[in-house]
Symmetry: C2
Subunit: 246 residues, 2 copies
């Protein structure tokens, strides 16, 4: 049997999420399970890329991250073509956090839809949602610009535009007044944002970062709080500057 | 007749755009026309706020900018209420540039819709559009984070979700193959993004900043270039890192 040298292999992770309790991202889990792998050999590819459109060769742009710039550029050069444009970055943590948080904010945007608020409200939740998780990202060592990029805001936009997104769907049902266990019972697929919300909520608490939107989504998901009241509570917070660091 | 002391008055501009040739923003035009006004008395209020929703008291979040932090906070405290949340900032230029550029990028997003590309493509144009104009903003002295905020990305999102946006509509018609003069002949209202595109294109040239999406929108608007070919040209650019400073 041929033996593979794991350190000769470049891994490209396309999975999203943050493990509960350990708060590990997917690339960190891969490293944890295979401690002999050199971390720079693990790259992460993410961004607004509905598979249904990619297989139909509809122009799509994504980002690939590796600690090692050369590995990122190698994966970029491997996958780039006339309808799949790949950008590179060394901010692995930012790309992975962005991919996980966008599912949580998408639940929030779905809640706004389901509860019958407007496009203004939805755009506000999306924009302020990215802003608050950027603050958490900075504390953890990510580049805040990554959250405004393809793996953060870009992926959030495509998720919120889609009628097929499972996370947005869970939010919409919650916004209409259904309870989480009812909603999940009727779903065949996993909505990753539900579990990622628990992780993000805990990470924000432990890092002393204010994340009011993640907290509201958490309250609605797990504490059965009323979506309309939670939205007005967000509106009634003390006055803030647009860019604050906590 | 009572005389007003202009320096006792706080102006709040809610108009958007960049004047052709002079490249002045609206607050700069106000100062230019009334040179005795102290600049810090002019504030700018902007963000994702369809008027139809605001009058119906649908929760909305915007940002107000003044050079003088206290004036910004004063306007914030004046307008904030339970359904209209106002954030403050001192980045007047960033807020005004964001408000102008979002109309140009919205034309780009409309082109993607009209030409029959997908949600992936539209999210990519929106995200990379904000990224490229942030680069121009940095050169002009704005805070790049402002472009990811309510007056930039937030307003762009609400514009791109709306079927009523005049700028997105112009783009959609261009994407279907119509020419600009035909489209404008049938419109009763102004699409500010058409004129702002000229200004932005020239500003980028003069400041030596690469803005491929603005350039493509310009080429389609004013040089009659083909929308589908221009989109594939964007996909075929050399490989890039996600965050570059030029």
């Amino acid at each position: 049997m041929r033996k593979y040298d794991l350190n000769d292999t470049t891994f490209v992770s396309v999975a999203k999420g943050i493990e509960n309790e350990t708060f590990m991202t997917v690339s960190q889990i891969i490293k944890d399970v295979n401690p002999t792998i050199d971390g720079s050999n693990i790259s992460v590819l993410s961004g607004p890329s509905h598979a249904e459109e990619v297989v139909n060769r509809i122009p799509t742009a994504v980002v690939v991250a590796s600690e090692d710039e050369n590995i990122a550029k190698y994966v970029q050069a491997t996958f780039i073509n006339s309808f799949f444009r790949v950008y590179s970055t060394t901010d692995v943590l930012g790309v992975e956090l962005g991919g996980a948080i966008k599912n949580v904010i998408a639940i929030g945007a779905g809640i706004i839809d389901g509860a019958g608020f407007g496009d203004n409200t939805k755009a506000a939740i999306m924009t302020r949602g990215i802003a608050e998780v950027s603050r958490l990202g900075i504390k953890l060592g990510a580049n805040p610009a990554t959250f405004s990029g393809l793996s953060g805001m870009g992926d959030l936009i495509v998720t919120c535009m889609s009628k097929h997104s499972r996370n947005r769907f869970v939010g919409e049902e919650l916004g209409k007044g259904k309870k989480l266990n009812q909603i999940l019972k009727n779903m065949k697929m996993v909505a990753e944002g539900v579990e990622s919300c628990k992780s993000l909520y805990q990470m924000a608490l432990e890092n002393n970062v204010e994340t009011p939107i993640v907290k509201s989504v958490y309250n609605i998901l797990f504490l059965g709080k009323d979506p309309v009241k939670e939205t007005y509570k967000l509106m009634a917070r003390e006055m803030k500057a647009e860019h604050e660091n906590n």
